[in-house]
């Protein structure tokens, strides 16, 4: 059963400004794997990948109903890796919140246009396989 859904749009230019202006702090937003994935893209595509990752994280927070102000960290959602159960890799406070809500996995999808990245997240409750 679907326990929550979230969607977010991230302006690529805005995310690019954040990334370029605060490279030493990026570990607090993006995991190592995400940064490698984004930096591996052609220069003209890098900002789009960062924006997609950012939008996906925000979508996950919305699917959990926590919002960015809650006890979760951006880097606790790794949008380029998956958990063994097939959902996006989550850890720390995000994992604890998902467990508290009985959510087994969160699926994420993202798309990039010339100006924006959009992402959706669907949170699935535990026990759905047996249902």
């Amino acid at each position: 059963m679907i326990a929550g859904a979230g969607v977010d749009v991230a302006p690529i230019g805005r995310v690019a400004r954040l990334v370029e202006g605060h490279r030493p702090s990026l570990d607090r937003i993006f995991t190592d794997a995400e940064q490698r994935h984004c930096e591996a893209a052609r220069p003209s595509r890098r900002a789009g990948r960062y924006a997609a990752a950012f939008a996906a994280k925000e979508a996950v927070f919305k699917a959990l109903g926590t919002g960015w102000r809650s006890d979760v960290e951006w880097a606790e959602v790794d949008t380029v890796r998956t958990d063994p159960d097939g959902g996006v890799a989550i850890s720390g406070g995000v994992r604890r919140e998902a467990d508290r809500q009985g959510i087994a996995r969160i699926f994420v999808s993202a798309a990039i246009t010339s100006d924006n990245a959009v992402a959706t997240a669907i949170a699935e409750r535990q026990g759905d396989d047996a249902a």
Binding site: R14, G21, H22, R69, D71
Partner: protein, 133 residues
């Protein structure tokens, strides 16, 4: 560094992070309500404050993240008396006498995250570091 100097640096950080004009910023200006700051903007602001003032904004210090998840402090989306007490203790560097039990959390966050709160916070952080204030 004087409070006026801190205030000006904070204002410049907001101008650069949010793309607003200096004239839009007063001590009472709310980042959410008046400047329409979103999540990415708050990250930008925090990173700029850390860089500009050489401070570390620890988790929950400027934004009461985990406090708002405690059911003893927030019930049905509104602050409890215990929640008001906890926030005033956490944000002892600023005046939160206006907070009252029963205040909606969303409304509180909109009203609480002002330029003055940030200036109070930075002043408090700098005062805690010898030879920096």
């Amino acid at each position: 560094m004087t409070r006026d100097e801190i205030g000006e640096r904070v204002a410049q950080a907001l101008v650069q992070a949010l793309g607003v004009s200096r004239g839009d910023i007063t001590p009472e200006t709310s980042l959410s309500r008046d400047l329409e700051a979103e999540s990415i903007d708050f990250l930008d602001v925090v990173f700029r404050l850390e860089k500009d003032f050489g401070i570390e904004v620890a988790r929950g210090e400027l934004f009461p993240q985990e406090l708002l998840r405690d059911p003893a402090l927030v019930a049905n989306g509104v602050l409890t008396a215990e929640g008001v007490k906890a926030l005033r203790e956490r944000f002892s560097f600023t005046d939160l006498s206006h907070l009252q039990p029963g205040l909606k959390v969303d409304e509180m966050m909109n009203n609480m995250l002002t330029v003055k709160l940030i200036v109070d916070y930075v002043e408090h952080k700098l005062a805690a570091v010898p030879n920096r204030s």
